[in-house]
Symmetry: C2
Amino acid sequence: MSSKALSIKDIAKKANVSITTVSFILNGKAVEKNISTAVIEKVEKIIKEDGFKPNQVARSLRTGSSKIIGLIVEDISNPFFAGIARLIEDKAYKKDYKIIYSSTENQPGKAKDLINLFKSRQVDAYIISPAGGTEEEIQGLIKEHKPVVLFDRYLPGLNANYVGVDNFKASYQATEHFIHRKKKNIALVTVDLSVEQINERSEGHRQAILDYELPFHAELVIRIPFAQPKEETIQQLIHFFNQYAEIDAVLFATNYLAISGLTALKQMDKAIDKDFSVIAYDDGEVFKLHTPQISAVEQPLEEIAENIINLIFQQLSADQLPAPQKVILAAKLLVRSS
Amino acid sequence: MSSKALSIKDIAKKANVSITTVSFILNGKAVEKNISTAVIEKVEKIIKEDGFKPNQVARSLRTGSSKIIGLIVEDISNPFFAGIARLIEDKAYKKDYKIIYSSTENQPGKAKDLINLFKSRQVDAYIISPAGGTEEEIQGLIKEHKPVVLFDRYLPGLNANYVGVDNFKASYQATEHFIHRKKKNIALVTVDLSVEQINERSEGHRQAILDYELPFHAELVIRIPFAQPKEETIQQLIHFFNQYAEIDAVLFATNYLAISGLTALKQMDKAIDKDFSVIAYDDGEVFKLHTPQISAVEQPLEEIAENIINLIFQQLSADQLPAPQKVILAAKLLVRSS
DNA sequence: ATCTGTTAATAAAACGTTTTAGCAAAATCT
DNA sequence: AGATTTTGCTAAAACGTTTTATTAACAGAT
């Protein structure tokens, strides 16, 4: 009944031609290789009738390529990454490429494993939101002339393709927005990871305050440990907000910190209003539907995905890799409440 | 410099042993095959030093298995699926399995493509949230004795492993909750897909109303077209709520419908309070942080993922496939406001 | 009639593994 | 001392493709 899957050999036998002939036809090289139309039609008919699909694994082994793009993100259940993944998948699918993805959970060990795994699967290209400590592996890929695009996170040591937003500017503008609204004590809630992306967000906050010649209160910057359970973060933030009652504005450096922060404020029964403003990083339904609506720094998902996939295909179709490009996109401040 | 990747042949040459010996050592069959410890150590040393990783593609071709599990969902950017994906990935990773995922967008064509693609990649097992119209393909997989687990959606014709929640009951209980609160006109906002899962949700709503001998108003059930842009849905719902001012409670049959619904209500300036209650399907941050908090039917993500992966590994390790199991889990009604 | 070139097809090697079957030397048994 | 078993290792086939030569037949040119 179910038996084995068909192979090119079965088709060849059935059509009374050689394996080679079938292969040429499968790969559209039939005319170029002078196969007669009679044979082409006969073979194509059999292929269609029997529903033969070539074994991609064998094909990969022979050709060294796989039509697969590896996507490595920090956490696929983070809406930012899930959104990017979905958009990239869409665009890749149209060019007949598939995506393998995996989450690193920000563990260099896991990230390295993943890169090696993808390598041994002969993935054709890599899209990576890199965890720190994976520089050598990524450099290795580049050395081997594999198409690579980094996104979201930038690793300073690497000369690789990169797509990201101008975090410094985004954060600067958010802070500036607060300053224009006469805020004096602008807190920053950020995360305890020393990756460029996060550092830039801190810097933007600081620089804006300094540029406008306001006093910079270092104690109003709180760095939440990355792996800390959510409940603990909430408690920590409640304590933070209580301790510094002078805070009149808060910038959250990530999506999930904003959510924890809003939860904390809700538990404290602290109103978000003209005396206490909030801006979140990365927009989401949560912020739009919140009462009051929460302003947010919106990363242009579609644009990011578009640029990533373009860079990838650019590399895939070039004979030799073009010089690495850095695409820095502008984030947009969505002002919702005052 | 970068050269080609190492092969088992290179290692064999360097160690002055045969390819076979290296292979046995790689696969932990060294002792069983009477390889001397001296040779084992020598070879392992070289493998480690040179950082040799066997080519998984070649391995797959030879063995017919890939250590890859295919995951097919409707949309990876839906938090429900992203959450499941992440949990499954975690658990699979621990057993040295990887995930390939893709989104079907509920198009049978794309779903079929994906199944075929995974097949030709020699994926070891399939986790599918099936689109309607893919019955034959899935039946085909089962015929070929491939491990398969369906989840979320159930296809009635198929005798396959399945993990899902009791949608009828969940919906029934949500409606019952409204009835206990003396609601008379309980609307249902659902989607225009005739999949079991959605039908059951409608049925639960209807049955509860009938069981409590309330009049069932068919016009209070609105079915939103699946592919309709969000903005249109919102307008449609505004119109719906205005048209039937008697509505005193609404059950949303999906996550994203609830979000559109809340947006509609916000635009209408309609308060959610004791005179107008709401329950959403699938919990999320949005509902917890909403003012007032929104009650929700929570699907037990962790439990679902756990059951899926267990069923998969059960099948992977059995010599012959065990009889299909259906695991129906209970959803939980999280009551938040009245 | 021989040479040249084109047309239509194929045989065989290669990709990097796993695995079957087998062989020589050493160890054990009779 | 010869027969048998165990130890330690390997040659070669196989997995299903793609691709490089190669061939055989025939047409056209000399």
